[in-house]
């Protein structure tokens, strides 16, 4: 069959067109590749907007995000990143949770290696898990009236919120010098669960302002790096006192218990300098020195019998650190580090209270001076088979000042030595891990005899947990195994045991175990699976007695040890189990899916007894939380798509803390023990 002439012409034209297209393709091939590379290698931006619905009012699911109500929320995020390649100038705008009370917005502009600045706003709500049902009036103010509202009262949401503005700038003066200034201004407002003797319910009407300033000059040379500067703070409490009208605290306890002091403002100024010097490629020394002058001069909320109107609080703190790390041979590394801090409380000592000489206090304020010394020496030796052996000794000493009269067992100095040895393999392609053993011993200066006024010996029975003699043994094992090209496993075991001593009562011993296992499996190029689980079990055994004689001179015989006032024990234990399972993948070129399940299950045990008649020992408490999260992304076009998210969040507890409690003023606290929330959200995103 012969082709018509017209067809011949069209055939020739088609062929020519193909040939021309090939030629054009050849010419533009490089341009297209350049465009593709530019897209892969240039900063990209994204904006997404959508909405999400919360199924139920809650205090847990939205505790920090602000999504605590059964309603619709706007989901709005932006991440704009732009760079002028010619000048190296950046402009970044990052916004997260812009439709929520947990919003963050940051603007950054810089010319890389030259100058930069940023302004950053952040809002963080914090919802208490509890809701108060109260007749209290004025709970947002400094004057609160107990039972001022008619019964049964109203629900009061206990919530605080921080609004923080950060700003800073930096400038490179030369290639090795940089000056920086950062500041943070934060408002914290809201309501915190509070109360007073006589068990009236009150609200702490939080209204704080905190400002931080930091200015630094840094030099970064090949061998020497130094940073020096100023760090200052100013804290203001706009509600430093709480006046209470009515209530049992006004009549039933021999004292008005009003006004109540809320935290006073304070200020600090610190000058610091720190740095490091590389004496050779294998030897480096570091140092830091800082001096802080801190004051507290808020006007007292009530008249002082001393005639003083302020505490005149002054705390001067000096901190110093020197360190040296070196490698004297190819296989041996040595490290030594010493830190010392003197926190000198120079607040004037004044007899504020003029208490009776028969009581357990003198009436003077007690400035707290604490001197700390921390040191360590460590050596690491390279063994065959990519294995390293590290051995070290740590030292921790704390020295505290003493008051003339104290009713808590006390020692001026504690010293703790820790010896440790660890074998570690970190450079194998398949099996890495470590095994370490740590032994520490804490002791200290002689226990001081607790006294009441007049030099009479007080109770000297109990060893405070942070001052007590303590022997601690700990073993830690970690394993990382690349079982196959697709499977990674990690395991960790830690076992520790404590023995306390020094006095008769207090924490006697304790132990802790921690186990975890992680797995990551790459099912295919498009699908991956992760799973982890952990268990920790911490125990401490407490020995105590009820109603010991005041001046017992450390004699356990001073404990009545009767049915009504027994010597008792508590077997404190916390068991936590947690796991997470996740899968994510790309079943289709336009679709990405993810599923994640996390479970926490905690149990606190107390097991205290024997208990006096009528007193029921404290039951265990359990806390369960599970979060199931399903996510999906569908690509509508090359640079836009839809994201969807579903969250199922469950919380439950049998915590009895508030179940049967009623404040003297009738206030109840609703513990919100069972919460189930479903969240569904969808948003459209656009990349550019």
């Amino acid at each position: 069959m012969s082709e018509p002439s017209g067809g011949k012409t069209r055939g020739a034209l088609r062929l020519a067109a193909v040939a021309a297209a090939l030629a054009a393709a050849g010419a533009s091939w490089a341009d297209e590749r350049d465009d593709e590379i530019a897209k892969l290698a240039k900063p990209s931006s994204e904006v997404s907007i959508g909405a999400g619905s919360v199924s139920d009012d809650n205090t847990r699911f939205g505790q920090y995000s602000g999504m605590t109500k059964d309603r619709l929320y706007m989901l709005f995020d932006i991440n704009y990143r732009s760079r002028d390649d010619a000048t190296g100038s950046w402009l970044n705008v990052t916004g997260r949770n812009l439709g929520l009370d947990s919003r963050e917005l940051r603007l950054e502009q810089s010319r890389q290696g030259n100058w930069g600045y940023y302004v950053d706003f952040s809002q963080t709500p914090r919802y208490s898990p509890y809701t108060a049902l109260t007749r209290l009036v004025g709970y947002d103010s400094s004057t609160q009236t107990v039972n001022g509202a008619p019964a049964p009262g109203t629900p009061v949401e206990l919530k605080t919120e921080r609004k923080t503005l950060n700003a800073g700038l930096n400038k490179y003066l030369a290639s090795r010098w940089e000056v920086k200034f950062d500041t943070r201004y934060e408002e914290k407002t809201g309501r915190r669960l509070y109360g007073r003797t006589g068990t009236d319910f009150l609200v702490d009407p939080i209204d704080y302002r905190t400002t931080l300033y930091e200015a630094t000059v840094g030099y970064a040379g090949d061998k020497l790096q130094v940073n020096g500067g100023y760090f200052g703070s100013n804290f203001v409490n706009n509600k430093p006192r709480l006046d209470v009208v009515g209530g049992t605290g006004a009549v039933g306890f021999g004292a008005p218990f009003t006004p109540i002091a809320l935290p006073p403002g304070n200020q600090s100024n610190q000058f610091n300098i720190g740095g490091g010097y590389s004496l050779s490629p294998t030897t480096r020394a570091t140092f830091k020195y800082a001096y802080t002058h801190q004051t507290q001069n808020d006007t007292f909320i009530d008249t002082s019998t001393t005639g003083r109107t302020t505490l005149g609080g002054v705390v001067d703190t000096t901190f110093g650190q020197v360190g040296l790390v070196m490698k004297p041979t190819k296989d041996l590394s040595l490290l030594a580090d010493l830190k010392h801090e003197n926190r000198d409380d120079k607040t004037p000592v004044v007899d504020y209270f003029n208490v009776s000489t028969t009581t357990t206090a003198t009436g003077v304020n007690e400035p707290r001076t604490i001197h700390s010394t921390l040191g360590k020496v460590e050596g690491t030796y390279q063994l065959p088979a990519a294995t390293r052996l590290t051995a070290g000794v740590d030292y921790d000493q704390r020295r505290r000042n003493t008051s003339d009269v104290h009713i808590v067992s006390y020692r001026e100095t504690t010293q703790e030595w820790t010896g440790r040895v660890e074998l570690r393999r970190a450079m194998s392609e398949t099996l890495n891990g470590s095994i370490g053993y740590f032994h520490s011993r804490r002791g200290g200066s002689d226990w001081q005899t607790t006294t009441v006024v007049g030099g009479v010996a007080g109770s000297n029975l109990l060893q405070p947990i942070y001052l007590a003699d303590r022997d601690r043994d700990k073993v830690r094992l970690t394993v990382g195994w690349n079982a196959t090209e697709k499977l990674d496993l990690q395991g960790r075991v830690e076992v520790a045991k404590d023995e306390y001593g020094g006095r008769t009562l207090g924490t006697q011993d304790g132990n802790a175990q921690f186990y975890s296992l992680d797995a990551a499996y790459r099912l295919s190029d498009n699908w991956s699976f992760t799973a982890w689980l952990s268990r920790d079990d911490t125990r401490a055994n407490l020995l105590d007695c009820a109603n010991a004689a005041t001046s017992n001179s450390g004699q356990i015989g001073a404990c009545p040890d009767t049915t009504a006032d027994p010597i008792w024990r508590a077997h404190l234990r916390n068991v936590g189990n947690a796991l997470g399972v996740g899968i994510k993948g790309k079943p289709h070129g336009k679709v990405e899916l993810g599923a994640d399940f996390q479970l926490s299950n905690d149990r606190a045990e107390f097991r205290n007894g024997p208990t006096p008649p009528g007193v029921t020992a404290v039951p265990d408490t359990k806390y369960n939380r599970s979060v199931t999260r399903l996510t999906g992304r569908y690509l509508l076009e090359k640079n836009s798509g839809i994201r969807v998210q579903y969250v199922h969040d469950r919380f439950s507890t049998n915590d009895w803390t508030w179940d049967t409690w009623t404040y003297a003023d009738g206030t109840r606290i609703l513990p919100n023990s069972q919460q189930t929330v479903n969240f569904i959200g969808a948003s459209y995103y656009y990349n550019f």
Binding site: G11, A19, L22, G26, I37, L40, A41, K42, P43, D85, Q112, S122, T197, A220, Q225, N227, F235, P263, N266, G274, K288, D298, F300, D302, L311, G313, F319, G323, E341, T347, Y352, F353, G363, N365, E366, T380, R400, A426, S459, L462, I465, Y466, E494, L505, S534, A546, A548, C559, A570, N574, G576, D602, N608, P613, V615, V618, W658, W661, A664, I669
Partner: protein, 314 residues
């Protein structure tokens, strides 16, 4: 006509092929970084180790004269680039940063420290991370458009790769807003090493806590000794089942330090006693327990003491 057309097409095709061949033989040009052609002639986004996204980062800002090139970090890697004839497998680069790298950790880190030793990394060599063979690449993903550890929402997951106990603790009922990316690990810790303890951002535990909880600083007319010494004596900042991040529930926490005279050694219980009483039973156990009365437990600045309110009660 048909012959002419075919000939024309053949010529054009030959020209295209020649053009493509010429481009193949041309020296490869840099794609992202100055001098990267040595590497990007093989490594691109289709490779097992996609690299081009580094161009999205500060490392990819060529206008900044300090910006490195591939070999600044990976070394010249001569045998990797030009595989020796007798080698069965292509040798690795001089410095590579995979977690199973056989390059000593110090050498890997030195590639970064050559530029980044100053500022917050001045004390790196003294840090616990350095001592435990943690490398910069253990946490940082340099070839990503956004490094997850530098994004507050994703940072905790990076830290939890090693810090498993904290991963569990942060899921307890009382916690900081870490999972929400509001208070994250680097707000309190400088993982690059510090002069102070525990790699904390400030020189001590308390000074670090005060940056957000300045109201606890005082000093007060009445101070509580352990409060002034170390917040972590009573609080576990990583999470707890007890309200306010307390390590142990009151009264047991308080009874771990206080002598058992007066009411202090009384026995906790969920029955017995009364709400307003400090005898054994509910008054010292339910609600805020000891803090029902000793409500200003961090210290009080009240100069009055009518009826023992000095014990943090007013």
């Amino acid at each position: 006509m048909k012959t002419t057309t075919l000939a024309l097409a053949a010529i054009l095709a030959a020209l295209f092929a020649a053009s493509a061949a010429a481009q193949d033989k041309a020296p490869p040009k840099d794609l992202v970084l100055t001098g990267d052609a040595r590497c990007t002639r093989c490594h691109d986004e289709n490779d097992d180790y996609p690299v081009l996204a580094i161009g999205k980062t500060k490392h990819g800002t060529r206008a900044d004269a300090r910006t490195p090139t591939c070999t600044s970090c990976h070394g010249q890697s001569e045998t990797h680039v030009n595989k020796p004839a007798n080698a069965t497998e292509r040798p690795k680069p001089d410095r590579y940063f995979a977690k199973n790298s056989k390059v000593p950790p110090e050498e890997r880190n030195q590639a970064c420290l050559a530029c980044h030793q100053g500022g917050k990394r001045t004390h790196w060599q003294m840090s616990a991370h350095a001592s435990r063979d943690v490398t910069c690449a253990s946490c940082h993903t340099v070839h990503a458009g956004q490094d997850p550890v530098r994004v507050k929402l994703t940072q905790p997951d990076v830290c939890f790769q090693c810090h498993k106990q904290q991963r569990a603790e942060i899921r307890r009922p009382s916690r900081h807003p870490t999972l929400e990316g509001k208070v994250v690990c680097s707000d309190c810790h400088n993982p690059h090493g510090t002069a102070g303890e525990k790699q904390l951002a400030r020189d001590s535990v308390n000074e670090t806590c005060y940056t957000c909880h300045m109201e606890k600083r005082g000093p007060f007319v009445r101070t509580h000794q352990p409060v002034q010494e170390n917040c972590a004596i009573c609080h576990n900042p990583h999470g707890s089942v007890n309200d306010n991040l307390l390590r142990t529930r009151a009264p047991f926490l308080c009874q771990s330090c206080h002598e058992p005279t007066s009411h202090r050694g009384n026995v906790a219980g969920v029955t017995g006693g009364s709400n307003a009483s400090n005898s054994s039973g509910i008054g010292i156990t339910l609600a805020r327990a000891c803090l029902n009365c000793h409500t200003n437990i961090h210290g009080t600045n009240n100069p009055k003491d009518v009826t023992n309110e000095r014990t943090f009660r007013r």
